[in-house]
Subunit: 138 residues, 3 copies
């Protein structure tokens, strides 16, 4: 049994999903493990991780509008030091995922046919985000 | 240290929770590991995983009604190729879990007394769903 | 490769976040692993885990008010044997996390600068909660 760890940086362009499937799968396959467990961890409280449909581009727009509706910008938050999009960003991160765990099947992450891995940026402005990848197996 | 991986198929009957606790716990115990880590991963973007109360059947109905309310079917989604329940299904999956990680205690998943593991079907029609199980330990 | 498992008990004082970062990080560091994977698992269906901003105290109040709004107490739930805060507690647990997975970097959980680990109590009354920690690595 062995393991590997890697940090990847992702430049975002404001609110929305940034697909990272190819980078993540490429790195995992390069480890040459047949079976094992992949973990992704987002090191931020105003960005998060999601697995979503990788085919239909309209899905991304619907997701963005939905989260703008259930965690809206508002004057009612006590915490607004960093602007009106700060507290909603924390809420959106809580409703989605800070970590993902994906077993390997045949040397690859066991993603379904339509599943893509995305970093979900919750702030309006572009940010540099960091995700930690870890894989253990053999 | 060793590991094992298994794919299980679950036939759903439309929206709602399908309990899979017994199958999962049985498979883990059959691996004969005293300590370790169990991971479950759902290979779909319109079904997901949740751990919920396994005792009160009314809880399941309340959960179904709640998600129908916070991620409603609507004419306002851009993505509706597969019908009005498609986009809400993706949202419900994002709000719950695509993966679960459960340590072992005494050779069994460390579920609390009232915790059951469920596949959460988000589409109206029956589907065949696949969940990947992985356990590592000794 | 080796692993360690520990159960920790947390006394809550009613709804809200209880920070457990220091206990968790201290235990992980005491294992003396350079690289690896930390998993936290909450053994309850009316409490959960979240990673959130550890700096601004107002964030916690905003989070509490937000969840009281999107998963409100109500007379409309079928399941209310344990009181009006019981079913909302299950919903709040489903919307947040039952498990968290955090890789290690340099012998420590790879938390970002502003990330703290919290137990999120969803019931009004104080409870004794149990979280299972597992770490594997070397």
């Amino acid at each position: 049994m062995r393991q590997a760890t890697r940090r990847i940086a992702i430049e975002t362009r404001g609110q929305g999903l940034v697909e990272i499937t190819r980078d993540v799968v490429g790195w995992v396959m390069a480890q040459g493990m047949e079976a094992g467990l992949l973990t992704l961890f987002c090191r931020h409280t105003s960005a998060s991780l999601v697995i979503q449909e990788n085919a239909a581009p309209e899905v991304r727009g619907d997701i963005e509008r939905y989260f703008a509706r259930i965690a809206p910008e508002s004057a009612d938050y006590a915490h607004d030091d960093e602007g009106p999009d700060d507290m909603p960003a924390h809420l959106r991160a809580m409703l989605t995922d800070v970590s993902l765990s994906i077993p390997l099947l045949g040397g690859r992450p066991a993603l379904g046919t339509w599943q893509g891995i995305y970093l979900f940026e919750h702030r309006r402005r572009p940010h540099r985000r960091e995700v930690v990848l870890h894989v253990i197996g053999e």
